[in-house]
């Protein structure tokens, strides 16, 4: 009699068979959205300013980045091109190097994105712009976050 009577004790374990599926789903999401940073920052991570009238940068391969910010323990604004802290005068070589990697007809489309810290002096930015004008790299983009502009000022 008792042979067929099963003992019911405790809750049945929740099946974790679909756990790998869920994890894979997340994994693929992050694999697809992830952007590997091409350069390691030598300067302190710039706190970008906020703006509302933003445009999205379209073709990423056509964008070159100039970082402007501070270095710990040193005064003044520093410019980082690729992996090095550089001088304003190096910008033209940086632009030429960028142009070399693109075909002739893409050169007018090249955009320079300036990722500058909110507390940078405008003078530094002007020097960069002047240098870019000298080599005819005219399309620029001031990299910003989307948000209220008043946040730039309250300090």
């Amino acid at each position: 009699m008792s042979k067929f009577r099963k003992k019911k004790k405790g809750f049945p374990a929740i099946s974790t068979a679909s756990l790998p599926d869920i994890v894979f789903m997340l994994l693929f999401f992050f694999m697809v959205t992830t952007v590997m940073r091409e350069t390691t920052l030598k300067i302190q991570k710039p706190q970008l300013p906020f703006a509302t009238e933003v445009k999205k940068l379209e073709r990423k391969s056509l964008v070159s980045y100039i970082y402007v910010g501070k270095v710990k323990g040193q005064g003044g604004d520093k410019i980082q091109l690729n992996d090095r802290i550089s001088d304003v005068k190096d910008i033209k070589y940086f632009i030429f190097a960028e142009r070399d990697t693109h075909s002739e007809d893409e050169i007018p489309l090249l955009t320079t994105s300036i990722k500058a810290d909110i507390e940078t002096n405008v003078g530094t930015i002007t020097d960069i712009k002047e240098e870019l004008r000298n080599v005819n790299a005219l399309k620029i983009n001031y990299s910003t976050l989307t948000g209220d502009v008043m946040k730039n000022i309250s300090k």
Binding site: A51, E119, N136, I140, N141, Y142, T146
Partner: protein, 205 residues
């Protein structure tokens, strides 16, 4: 003959492997912001006399090293008022504009401004001049730029909604997804009616 089943591979550790990868990507991922204010720098020119502009057609915004904003060299202003003031200036339409497509100079019949003869004549004559100091902070500079671009966007949107029942921003978006000649023409038309003329002076030292 005896049936021999292949032993099934244990997939129990699959989740662990996937988790490991997941955590790797979670840590390395940076949701990069690729947005910003796009500007085009003027081309380098040698010895070209700057065109002579009437004073009333120039809206001078000066930002000093203490991040104060001075408008028309006359009164101080906070950033949040700037957009409104710029709109008033651009949209004034107090006189005749530059000829469009070879036609005679005409009044701005799409402007809704005060038509004050002391302010700008026409959107295509109205120049916004931005003067900054080398010591101005970048945040303020971007805020001012943003407000000035915002003023143009507002006017373009308003006109576009009146003419085509669709905002200018939306038109740009649509044109990107489904480019068409009609949209392109409409965009050029709006751009011609409210050309964005922002001039930046060399900063003071």
């Amino acid at each position: 003959m005896a049936r021999r089943d292949l032993p099934e591979i244990n997939a129990g550790s699959m989740a662990d492997i996937a988790f490991l990868l997941l955590i790797f990507f979670l840590v390395t991922t940076t949701m990069d912001t690729d947005k910003g204010i796009s500007r085009k720098l003027p081309e380098k020119q040698d010895d070209i006399d700057p065109p002579i502009l009437k004073e009333k057609n120039v809206f001078i915004v000066t930002v000093n090293r203490n991040n104060d904003i001075l408008v028309e060299g006359d009164y101080f202003m906070t950033v949040d008022k700037l957009r409104e003031e710029a709109i008033k200036f651009i949209d004034n339409g107090g006189g005749f504009g530059n000829p469009i497509d070879g036609a005679d100079p005409a009044e701005c019949d799409w402007c809704e401004g005060a038509k004050d003869p002391k302010s700008s004549d026409h959107p295509n004559k109205a120049v916004i001049s931005l003067e900054s100091d080398r010591g101005t902070s970048y945040g303020t500079y971007i805020a001012v730029q943003n407000e000035l671009v915002g003023a143009y966007t507002f006017l373009r949107n308003r006109l576009s909604e009146k003419l085509y029942d669709i905002s200018y921003t939306q038109m740009i978006k649509d044109n990107k997804n489904h480019p068409s000649l009609k949209l392109k023409d409409q965009i050029t038309n709006i751009k011609k009616k409210y050309p964005q003329i922002i001039s930046e002076a060399e900063p003071t030292k």
